[in-house]
């Protein structure tokens, strides 16, 4: 059943009617059961749409994308083709962390050497956009770690603290270098990478501590 208001129900539902029309439609709804029923069904349609879940593709698409990203380079082997479920001991994880930190330290040394940017053109995402949030996230993770590190043995805690200190030094050096050369694309990216590695290390250690409980 349709009347003059039926075609306005979606606008009413979305709050897009002018005040006068809204009042008139609400008055109509008090007397028109058909419009009330239609409005209720439209609400259900909208709710259903909002509840739709995103589903990934049923086939692996990355390898095809990757091949098109780097046509001049031999495409890497798809992660999915080689992924295995592996587990690491605490010493292995810490050894990996140390390796990352050494890479970070080397990166700072390299960054301090005169060099041209790694890529022509502007690098558009600068740490200023995100470092504040990252600092906050790191701070929260460190708070969690300070509360949970009693679950780790003393030697592990010591190694973790030493590693974090080294990362902090790398971050500080990158920040200092950036202060002197804010437009240096390599330094911006190096700082982003180093902070991401600190986040990963903190998350990893917190997960280890959680697993000990």
């Amino acid at each position: 059943m349709n009347d003059q208001w039926t075609d306005r129900l979606s606008e009413y539902l979305d709050g897009e009617l002018a005040a006068g029309e809204r009042t008139a439609l609400e008055a109509h709804l008090t007397t028109c059961a058909a419009c009330r029923a239609t409005l209720d069904e439209l609400r259900k349609v909208v709710a259903r749409a909002k509840a739709l879940e995103d589903r990934p593709p049923s086939t692996e698409l990355w390898s095809g994308i990757h091949a098109r990203l780097t046509p001049g380079r031999r495409p890497g082997v798809s992660r999915d083709a080689t992924s295995r479920r592996v587990s690491f001991s605490v010493p292995q994880l810490l050894a990996a962390s140390i390796a990352l930190i050494l890479l970070s330290g080397s990166g700072v040394w390299l960054a301090l050497q005169p060099r041209s940017p790694v890529r022509d053109g502007p690098v558009v995402v600068t740490p200023a956009v995100w470092t504040g949030r990252t600092d906050a996230a790191i701070s929260e993770l460190q708070d969690v770690l300070s509360r949970s590190e009693s679950r780790l043995d003393t030697a592990t805690v010591r190694v973790v603290r030493e590693n974090l200190a080294v990362i902090d030094r790398a971050i500080a050096e990158a920040r200092n270098a950036l202060a002197a050369d804010p437009g240096n694309a390599y330094l911006n990216l190096h700082l982003a990478n180093t902070m991401r590695r600190k986040l990963e290390l903190l998350r990893r250690v917190n997960a280890i501590a959680a697993a000990q409980s």
Partner: protein, 191 residues
């Protein structure tokens, strides 16, 4: 602190902020040419992009076009200014790729079948686990114009003014198409 509480404390409060931070870092790395960082972005967003493409076009186009979206994103990363989340930027880019594809396919803009017969044959079920799948099927049978507007407005959350600009129509047309789509899908709910 219990293990559950510890895990919650270590993951939930930080999860969203940390994910955003990691994504911002990955975006910067990808912009510098780091394909591994771009793959992480792909893994995070592929379901949303693929679902958008599948809903706005046909399912058999979804895989190819999803790949096109990510290749295009890689090529256009230098235009990403970080003023919005990467996911928001990527979603808008995906919409543009889909709309461009529609043009090349010669899809007639704004076509709408007033008899709503397009939904005939959709096997509706009320309040069943398959409900969502059936709803997607009903959605896929909407006329093109109504389908685009419904997906952009009710599923993706764009406003009529934005949709009108994307589709090259006036906001009133977008509102009308949305209402037609909802009314057609309402019929499905009645089954």
């Amino acid at each position: 602190m219990s293990r559950q509480a510890l895990e919650a404390a270590s993951l939930i409060p930080d999860q969203m902020a940390a994910a955003a931070d990691a994504e911002a870092a990955d975006t910067a790395l990808a912009a510098s040419g780091d394909a591994s960082a771009f793959e992480r972005l792909y893994r995070t967003h592929v379901a949303r992009v693929h679902s958008l493409v599948r809903r706005m076009l046909d399912a058999d186009e979804a895989d190819d076009l999803t790949q096109d979206v990510f290749v295009r994103a890689w090529q256009k990363l230098s235009t990403f200014r970080g003023e919005s989340a990467f996911g928001t930027w990527l979603h808008r880019l995906a919409v543009n790729v889909v709309l461009a594809r529609r043009k090349t396919l010669g899809v007639e803009r704004g076509r709408y079948r007033t008899d709503e017969a397009a939904l005939d044959g959709v096997s509706g079920r009320r309040e069943t686990p398959e409900m969502s799948v059936d709803f997607e099927e009903a959605l896929s049978r909407l006329p093109d114009g109504a389908r685009q507007v419904f997906v952009l407005h009710d599923v993706a959350g764009y406003r009529h003014e934005e949709i009108a600009r994307m589709l090259g129509v006036v906001p009133g047309t977008s509102k009308s198409q949305l209402h037609h789509a909802r009314m057609a899908l309402r019929r499905y709910l009645d089954r």
